[in-house]
Symmetry: D3
Subunit: 69 residues, 6 copies
């Protein structure tokens, strides 16, 4: 099974909140992992990112797809 996505993080469910149409699930991630971001080369240039820089990676919860294998 292979996904066309750079980020595949192994996680454990910690809580589930079920709503009328949408639900919110939370997870713990205990193991070191890598992440990838695609952004415009213009934005990259403004950020001036280079190896070793510390950043925050912000991801809206709606963009996180849980897969149960």
């Amino acid at each position: 099974m292979k996904y066309g996505a750079r980020n595949q993080i192994h996680a454990t469910v910690t809580s589930v909140k079920t709503g009328d149409v949408m639900s919110l699930v939370k997870f713990d991630v205990d193991t070191p992992h890598s992440m990838a971001s695609v952004l415009t080369s213009e934005s990259l240039d403004e950020l001036g990112l280079k190896p070793g820089d510390k950043v925050a990676l912000v991801v809206k919860a709606i963009h996180v797809l849980p897969v149960k294998e």
Copy 2:
């Protein structure tokens, strides 16, 4: 500074690949952290997620927003 997003992961840049319009940046995440996913209650029901379950969290790189503080 507060973001309207559930996922804010501290990371270190490991590589940068600059393209003509879009660029790809990679990161290491060394510290345990939590994640959150919003999905339809129908999808949640089909997955049958409950605390303790192991999942993969798949996120396209385009949905990851780097922020330099």
Copy 3:
């Protein structure tokens, strides 16, 4: 009327579930159509996709924009 999006699928509403803030609508698609995906060249390389390969195309419902013409 032209959209800056590769995927424009003709569909018929089959059900509507109205929630407090978000709602879920379902559709039938009866006619053959094409789809397009943009992914990183790295992900493409890992998937090794070539013409004739069978795949599943996964799309979160939140990314589907209904337009009534």
Copy 4:
């Protein structure tokens, strides 16, 4: 294998265009299938969707995740 997404469409690769950072893949979908959209209840109210209505479903290619099983 279960995904936390409402839309899972079976498709066949028809073409691949590899770029420097991002790539574009096209697919044929020959079998009838269903689709789902999540939108705000306000947008739903403005569209006035009900069973039997014809719509176009617009999806940017970047939101389509290919999975090879």
Copy 5:
């Protein structure tokens, strides 16, 4: 023509940069307009937003769909 999206902003093209697979287009927006955001109720609670508060609305360019009428 009605879209299932809360944000529909009238804009004028100012520049176009064509890449191998992806392109970047820029626009001017001269008229006052409204915007809408959907976020988790948890994130809203953390932000503590109330009428009159000043915020920045951050949107990745990939999530902006141009439509030519």
Copy 6:
């Protein structure tokens, strides 16, 4: 503070609607600003956009990230 996103719009909260899991916030944008869109070069070619063209920019509310500074 720098974001890896092309669109950063200054706005004022006008209303808040809190739901069970997701909430909807509305804003006024009173000052002229620029916007950017990334789309496939194919879609750009079909739209035929050039400086001076008038378009509508459609953005689902879920893709708008409020940040309080």
